[in-house]
């Protein structure tokens, strides 16, 4: 199943089962979505439930919040996370805080979908990853879908939740063919152990999952170790339980993220590990992240600014040799 098909199926099934669910955003209707996620939904549910909006992100989220307050269950699509900065006040000051400002009397059952990350030569203003911003906002739930299974079940749960969910996707994943697994008792807040191992834990999320997977065989061969790999899935709340169990077993941890290193989401994860699992660590934690530069347009420089399977492998092997592996 294609990643975008999983998202489409999730929205379609939810809309079919609940009339209060609507989607709105730029080109989500007649055009079928910039990445074809809402393809076919306009024809099926009509312009009242699949709403094309002007290019005005603040109003997309603002309108969606109004709909949510009035009893609808909207899914807002922001074309990329880069443009979500325009909607920040509505997301941070309103969506995230209504439950708390109303003493729990009002909730905002809103899902905001947005793709991000480095695609191919979209340049600095269209290549950012802002999970670190949203994961820092109390009142929001932040989910990051790296695969078709999580995209499907995660998005369905996000729509069903009564609190605002920032649902992060990655632009390069949409056309990827992926395995789809049926899941019973799906827990959107549980991290996935992608691969079991005993000597080193690599934590990652979104598209970096695939870059890490590609690097793992060489790391295992060169260091003669077995690697455990965790895909976080949920960035807020963070599943420290799964992380703790793994790090207590392997005693070594590496975090791989595409976002810039300084102030990136990985900094938060590693800080929590240092606070809570310090005495389990047998090596200093390692972060492999994007460089601290706006993403360049030039393809060579673009690749130089983010982790790649080669760089991930080399860094971990180098770090492992220096730290007793």
């Amino acid at each position: 199943m294609l990643y975008r098909e999983a998202l489409n199926r999730a929205i379609d099934e939810m809309m079919a089962s609940d009339e209060s669910i609507v989607i709105l955003g730029e080109d989500v209707g007649r055009y079928g979505g910039s990445y074809r996620v809402s393809e076919g939904l306009f024809a099926k549910y009509g312009p009242k439930r699949v709403i094309d909006t002007p290019i005005a992100e603040l109003s997309i989220v603002g309108n969606a919040i109004g709909m949510a307050i009035a009893g609808l269950r909207p899914i807002a699509e922001i074309m990329t996370v880069n443009f979500s900065l325009l909607a920040m006040d509505q997301i941070v000051n309103h969506a995230a805080k209504f439950r708390y400002m109303s003493g729990g009397k009002m909730t905002i059952p809103l899902t905001i979908r947005m793709p991000g990350g480095v695609s191919r030569q979209l340049a600095a203003q269209h290549s950012e990853s802002y999970e670190t911003l949203y994961a820092a906002i109390p009142g929001l739930i932040v989910l990051a879908a790296s695969n078709a299974t999580y995209a499907y079940y995660g998005l369905k749960t996000a729509i069903a939740l009564n609190d605002p969910v920032i649902f992060l996707e990655h632009e390069l994943l949409y056309p990827m063919e992926m395995d789809f697994k049926e899941v019973k008792n799906f827990d959107p807040f549980k991290a996935e152990i992608v691969k079991e191992g005993k000597d080193l834990t690599i934590i990652t999320y979104l598209k970096m999952r695939y870059d890490v997977l590609e690097a793992v065989p060489k790391i295992e061969e060169e260091l003669g170790i077995s690697v455990e790999m965790i895909d976080l899935n949920s960035l807020r709340p963070l599943d420290m339980q799964t992380i703790a169990a793994s790090v207590q077993k392997t005693k070594r941890v590496v975090l791989v993220e595409e976002d810039h290193k300084t102030g990136g989401y990985g900094a938060e994860v590693i800080a929590k590990i240092s606070e809570e699992l310090f005495y389990s660590l047998d090596a200093p934690p390692l972060r492999i992240a994007g460089e601290d530069v706006p993403i360049p347009y030039n393809r060579s420089l673009e690749l130089a600014s983010i982790p790649t399977p080669d760089k991930i492998g080399q860094r971990i092997i180098q770090w492992g040799r220096k730290n007793g592996l």
Binding site: A245, L277, Y279, S280
Partner: protein, 409 residues
């Protein structure tokens, strides 16, 4: 259970409040959010809500009375039955009911984003562990403290690396209970040190006894060479072969190894028989103009089939120099491929006769036994796919003549 409703603090400057009017009577049922009284602060008249469901048990303050902030004004019994009884409150303001109305959505479970997972609460409760001093990782320091290992002194003596990791500490702990030789045995036989009573120094003898008593096998990993040989002979075993047994007359040459003579003679014979220089590829044969002979060379446990290339162009002396060099050097991949016929010689070990497996894509192989008074026994193995018995017989007959004479030397 009794739930006390208190005089609320309605402004920063308010220190007491006046109860203006009760909206409920004793015995009334109240729900969470219901207004039960109106109070007057220094600024305005405000409503007081109940934050729990229950029945009004007692009103503690009379209308018009002033009480300090936070003083109890009423008691609600939260355990009294309220479900069937309808609320008697009639003067609920309209805007109040509007703002408490929940969105018209299906009630679904929502996990608050700020929930602390239980494992973290558990970790926070755990006191900081005792740590050994020295240059080591947190995990190593913790383990060292548990085992009573002094990292700092051991590092000063050079017995522990800097920084020390968990593995170094575990090994150090074992050194206390096992002699170095005993420790080597444990690793060699992959025995868990916990199998022993760690209350005395354990020597080799005790470990050896344990091995015998528990019938523990020694685990030896196959070498890369052994795995390669295994693949080669397994492939050879799938070939349809036949054997020809012969006895050759052979001349010895002063200062020349017998193997060198065998290579030279065979190279000459191969020149007369193109099929001995052939390689089967699908439905074609690739016939080389040269006699490229693979020679079985044993090095300790390892076996190599080293190829003597263009052997027919080399003099006996040149071949002998090549053969004598084999024991000392390692081989390149190029030296181990490109042959079409093989030689194996076990005569020096007194073996009278044996047969050999065909190497890789060779046509055949000649296995030579011991030399007895100018005669040597030889067993040829041929790949029947490439040549028939008659072809082989003609080759063996010519070879027999060439081995007897010395025109080629």
């Amino acid at each position: 259970m009794d739930y006390k409703i208190i005089m609320p603090v309605l402004s920063d400057t308010m220190d007491k409040g006046k109860l203006v009017r009760w909206r409920v009577h004793e015995g009334d049922v109240v729900h969470k959010g219901d207004v039960i009284a109106e109070v007057e602060s220094d600024k305005a008249i405000m409503e007081v809500q109940s934050f729990k469901d229950g029945v009004v048990k007692k009103l503690l303050v009379k209308e018009g009375e002033e009480v300090p902030v936070k003083a109890p004004i009423a008691i609600i019994d939260t355990e009294a039955k309220t479900a069937q009884t309808e609320t008697k409150i009639t003067q609920q303001p309209k805007e109040q009911s509007a703002s408490t109305e929940k969105p018209k959505t299906a009630p679904k479970e929502s996990t608050p984003a700020a929930a602390v997972p239980p494992v973290i609460e558990e970790l926070l409760k755990t006191p900081a562990p005792k740590l050994a001093e020295g240059d080591a990782t947190p995990a190593a320091k913790k383990r060292a403290a548990e085992l009573g290992i002094d990292i700092k002194s051991l590092q000063a003596e050079g017995k522990l690396p800097k920084p020390a990791h968990l593995r170094d500490i575990e090994t150090e702990a074992l050194r206390r209970y096992f002699t170095p030789k005993a420790l080597e045995l444990l690793q060699e036989y992959r025995i868990d040190p916990k199998e022993f009573n760690l209350d005395h120094k354990i020597g080799v003898e005790e470990v050896e006894n344990y091995i015998k008593e528990h019938d523990i096998p020694k685990i030896v990993a196959l070498s890369a060479n052994r795995i390669a040989v295994m693949k080669n002979v397994q492939n050879a075993a799938t070939k349809p072969v036949y054997f020809i047994f012969e006895e050759f007359d052979i001349k010895e040459y002063e200062g020349i190894k017998l193997t060198s003579v065998l290579i030279k003679k065979l190279a000459t014979a191969m020149q007369k028989h193109p099929l001995m220089r052939a390689k089967l590829e699908g439905t074609t044969l690739k016939i080389s103009p040269h006699s490229n002979i693979s020679v079985a060379v044993a090095k300790g446990d390892e076996l190599y089939m080293v190829v003597c290339k263009r052997a027919e162009e080399k003099s006996l002396q040149e071949i002998d120099t090549w053969v004598r060099g084999l024991k000392e050097r390692t081989f390149t991949a190029d030296e181990l491929t490109g042959s079409t016929f093989g030689i194996s010689n076990l005569g020096m070990f007194g073996v009278q006769r044996f047969s050999a497996m065909i190497n890789q894509s060779d046509v055949g192989i000649a296995a030579f036994g011991a030399l007895n008074e100018g005669k040597i026994s030889v067993t040829f193995t041929f790949d029947h796919r490439i040549l028939n018995g008659v072809d082989a017989a003609l080759f063996v007959r010519d070879a027999k003549e060439i081995f007897k004479g010395d025109e080629d030397v």
